[in-house]
């Protein structure tokens, strides 16, 4: 029989070294006694004939598991780990078998230790033990963890509180951090820590952040078990807070007055009834558009996107509606379709900055799919509502030609959005008489997959832009 005594400080390294040697020497689990049995003078008791024959390899995930489980308070932890190690050396796939009883037990223990570590990070409460104006202040805490978690958790406190001295004393092992050096000691009794004025402020905060109308004691206790309460200054207030909560909630309800519900919705509905045409003062149109609530789209979109460009432009370009990027930034045609437009317009020598660029519908319509917004085509009623704004823009800009891109723009301007592929490249007239050149929407160029169709769509779109440029230069020549 072999014997291994594992010390309370540096447990993880000691167990790992011992287990490695046993495994390499091929000693089965039932031949080893683990733990602090009596006072063994050295690691292997009377047995000295350990001759590691070969180096053993085990899955990395097992090492990580073992480094946590060794801190569990279960006296059988070393034996359980070695028993599983013995099995896993020949069957590494066991590490991914969550149904295995041995692994399941170890994972449960790992979880217990992790939780204990987490609670230690949360519930340690320092009190100041040095002068508050010292350049390096010093604090101390008394804590009683369930497992041996002080050593694996102390690095967290080093990372967090490196600019002060601190000590966390426990009945088991204590961590002391002084002038940037961490050390561990055994055997401390509960010290009498001096009173701390900030503790009173903390209790005040704890008492006041609590909402007596939503008492959920079991939810509190499952996350902050009673065993921790004795070392937490605020916990003394809990019984009192619970006892007074129903009376406080009742007082709040009784003190409140009651009056009939507001009739605001009705008034708002009346306000929303619209006039025939927008007739606001010059320059206020963008502000009026962004305040629009004529159709429900404004409730879901970020903002209305008004048109952009010179107020006396010869060419007005009308798209369908703002997309994801346009909705966020408030500018028309800045997303992927806008980039396609800019590229083709560059090829056709059409200067976008000389044109007034806008959309038939001013708010983005979409459905939410997880983290993305999927564009949805506006319906006839939304197009009708928004035509009011498009008409206002046309009246202001008075363009010589309107380029209607896609079915929605065509429908808004000419009253019909049917058969765009057939009608594209032709010049029709808007409901108010302005010439309208119908073309494809640039997003169509992005949507088609087939390279041949894409090539054709691209050249058609380019031709239409050239037609627009030619129309405007002819128009100018006639005027001169």
């Amino acid at each position: 029989m072999h014997r291994a005594t594992i010390p309370p400080i540096g447990t993880d390294i000691a167990w790992r070294n011992a287990a490695r040697d046993f495994l390499a020497a091929g000693i089965p689990p039932d031949q080893i006694l683990w733990g602090a049995h009596g006072s063994a003078p050295d690691l292997f008791g009377a047995e000295t004939a350990i001759t590691p024959s070969a180096t053993a390899t085990v899955p990395r995930s097992f090492i990580a598991l073992a480094q946590t489980v060794v801190w569990h308070s279960d006296p059988e932890r070393f034996a359980r780990l070695y028993a599983f190690l013995w099995r896993v050396k020949d069957a590494p796939h066991l590490m991914t078998d969550r149904g295995d009883a041995g692994l399941s037990r170890l994972r449960q223990m790992e979880k217990n230790v992790r939780r204990c570590q987490h609670k230690m990070k949360a519930f340690v409460r320092y009190r100041e033990i040095g002068p508050p104006d010292a350049t390096r202040r010093s604090f101390a805490a008394w804590f009683e963890p369930t497992h041996h978690t002080i050593e694996p958790t102390s690095s967290f406190f080093v990372r967090r509180f490196a600019d002060m001295d601190w000590r966390i004393l426990t009945p088991d092992v204590s961590a002391i951090f002084e002038n940037g050096t961490l050390s561990f000691q055994e055997g401390h009794v509960k010290p009498a820590l001096p009173d701390d004025a900030s503790e009173q402020l903390w209790i005040t905060y704890f008492r006041n952040i609590f909402n007596p109308a939503r008492l959920k004691v079991s939810a509190m206790q499952s996350e902050m078990p009673k065993k921790y309460w004795k070392n937490m200054p605020e916990a003394a207030s809990i019984p009192d807070m619970i006892a007074n909560a129903p009376a406080r909630a009742l007082a709040m309800a009784q003190a409140a007055p009651s009056l009939p519900p507001a009739r605001m919705a009705q008034v708002q509905a009346q306000l929303a009834t619209c006039h025939s045409a927008w007739d606001g003062p010059k320059g206020t149109l963008p502000a009026a558009i962004s305040a629009c609530t004529r159709c429900p789209l404004h409730q879901t979109a970020t903002q209305a996107v008004a048109g952009e460009g010179p107020a006396d432009a010869d060419l007005m370009i009308v798209g369908e509606q703002p997309g994801d990027m346009e909705d966020l930034s408030g500018k028309p045609f800045v997303g992927p379709a806008g980039q396609v437009f800019d590229r083709v317009a560059g090829e056709a020598r059409l200067d976008r900055n000389q044109a007034y660029v806008t959309n038939a519908v001013k708010h983005f319509k979409f459905t939410a799919r997880g983290k993305r917004r999927l564009h949805q085509r506006p319906n006839t009623s939304e197009i009708q509502h928004c035509r009011w704004w498009l008409d206002a823009e046309i009246t202001q800009v008075k363009p010589k030609l309107i380029l209607a891109m896609g079915a929605t723009a065509a429908q808004s301007l000419t009253g019909s959005g049917e058969g765009i592929t057939r009608r594209r490249g032709t010049i029709e007239h808007s409901l108010t008489g302005t010439p309208v050149l119908i073309t494809l929407h640039p997003s169509y160029l992005l949507r088609v997959r087939d390279p041949k169709t894409q090539q054709q769509a691209h050249s058609e779109f380019q031709q239409d832009l050239l037609t627009a440029v030619r129309f405007l230069s002819d128009n100018q020549a006639q005027a001169e």
Binding site: D163, T204, F206, I209, A253, T302
Partner: protein, 411 residues
């Protein structure tokens, strides 16, 4: 009036802040103070340093800079027409409280909000000054969450995002109409524009320059928002519809649902009820199904006729009970998408099932060890050594999961 002490101010201004549900301190950049010149660390996962008897986690020092406010939002204790006692912290007081609490391991950081005083810009610039002082003078590396004021100047928001880990703006109520009714000075479109602005700045912070350098990260823990539930008449379908839109539009980290709770000195405009805590809980469950379980909004809300979630059983179970035709599922063969739909199976359980079944046949006991809640799941699955038989078709299946009927009090 006598001068208020720090303790009195803290009592008033923490009491005023408790209606904000968020207290998260997770998901920011990793950093520590091992250099010995600064204070604090952030390790990705948040820590709840205490729990109040309302079951809520206390992770941050959640206070208002001041509870004076020029707005009149009827659900809010700090509205201008309320008779609550008013107080105001100085910049140094907030900084001192944060640092002293942090050094004693009471908190992960600061969650600073404020009533609007003088003007939105003046309020926001005081809040930014607190964050600046904490970061640059006290070298504080803990967590900072700033509530932004929607119509504050863009430079202030830009600086706030560089100093804080998280920014948030509350949409307050599920519909625009409700906001206009109960918070007449707040503009829903302005709130959305502010959220869009934060998202754009955050996206811009990810792009590298031509030299490969990254700009400083903007609000690394993202943005969140809060909706009050039960103050207006919106049903759960409306609430969840609003939150899916918010998630997809502004890449929010979280939408918090806050059951409307009576406040001392409440307004006459609002219902005087005990907070609908169960409804709030079901909304969070539905929110999780939408984000992590590939459920679509209409699947969850079409289970009942009135568009509200079933209060007696959780939304996934409610969905499964009306879609019994696809169950029982064989855990040894079903796809990940289908396994995620089994009541009692979480995302972790499902991934454990998928890795383990590569090696061998899964039995009923294996599932128990993998963390599945078999009380719910057993009806909906078959596994090695287990078949639910006719359980799935039994008429009183729903009754097995609902809480037992309670006798009314006799007196």
């Amino acid at each position: 009036m006598a001068r208020q002490t720090l303790d009195q101010k803290l009592a008033i201004l923490s009491d005023a802040a408790k209606y904000d549900a968020s207290c998260a301190s997770s998901g920011s950049t990793k950093r520590d103070s091992r250099d010995g010149k600064s204070l604090g660390s952030n390790e990705g996962s948040g820590i709840c340093h205490a729990y109040a008897p309302d079951g809520r986690c206390i992770s941050l020092l959640k206070i208002l800079m001041t509870n004076f406010c020029i707005y009149d939002c009827s659900y809010c204790i700090n509205r201008v027409s309320s008779n609550v006692t008013r107080a105001r912290f100085s910049v140094d007081e907030v900084v001192k409280l944060t640092i002293e609490f942090y050094r004693r391991n009471y908190i992960e950081g600061l969650f600073l909000s404020s009533g609007v005083i003088r003007s939105p810009d003046a309020t926001m610039s005081d809040m930014v000054q607190i964050a600046r002082k904490l970061r640059h003078e006290e070298n504080f590396r803990g967590y900072i969450h700033l509530k932004t004021i929607p119509d504050a100047a863009p430079e202030l928001i830009a600086e706030a995002g560089l100093l804080a880990d998280r920014l948030s703006i509350n949409v307050e109520l599920p519909t625009d109409a409700a906001v206009q009714q109960y918070a007449p000075e707040k503009k829903p479109d302005q709130i959305r524009k502010a959220m869009a602005d934060v998202r754009l700045r955050k996206d811009a912070g990810k792009e590298k320059s031509y030299t490969g350098k990254r700009p400083p990260r903007f609000a690394p823990a993202g943005q969140s928002t809060q909706m009050i539930i039960g103050a207006d008449g919106s049903n759960d379908a409306t609430v969840l519809g609003q939150s899916t839109r918010l998630y997809s539009s502004y890449k929010l980290k979280r939408v918090y649902y806050s059951a409307f709770s009576p406040i001392p000195d409440s307004s006459s405009k609002l219902p005087l009820i005990s907070p609908p805590l169960q409804r709030e809980h079901r909304l969070y469950q539905a929110d999780w199904l939408l984000r992590f379980y590939d459920f679509q909004l209409d699947e969850i809300t079409s289970v009942t006729t009135d568009g509200n979630l079933d209060l007696e059983v959780d939304p996934k179970l409610a969905w499964a009970l009306v879609h019994r035709e696809i169950f029982p599922l064989d855990v040894n063969r079903a796809s990940r998408e289908m396994l995620l739909r089994v009541p009692g199976f979480g995302v972790k359980t499902v991934s454990r099932i998928l890795t383990t079944r590569r090696h061998r046949l899964l039995r009923y006991e294996d599932l128990q060890r993998m963390g599945a809640s078999m009380k719910k799941a057993k009806t909906f699955i078959t596994a090695g050594g287990w078949s639910p038989g006719s359980l799935i078709d039994s008429v009183n299946l729903r009754a097995k999961f609902t809480p037992p009927p309670e006798q009314l009090a006799l007196f």
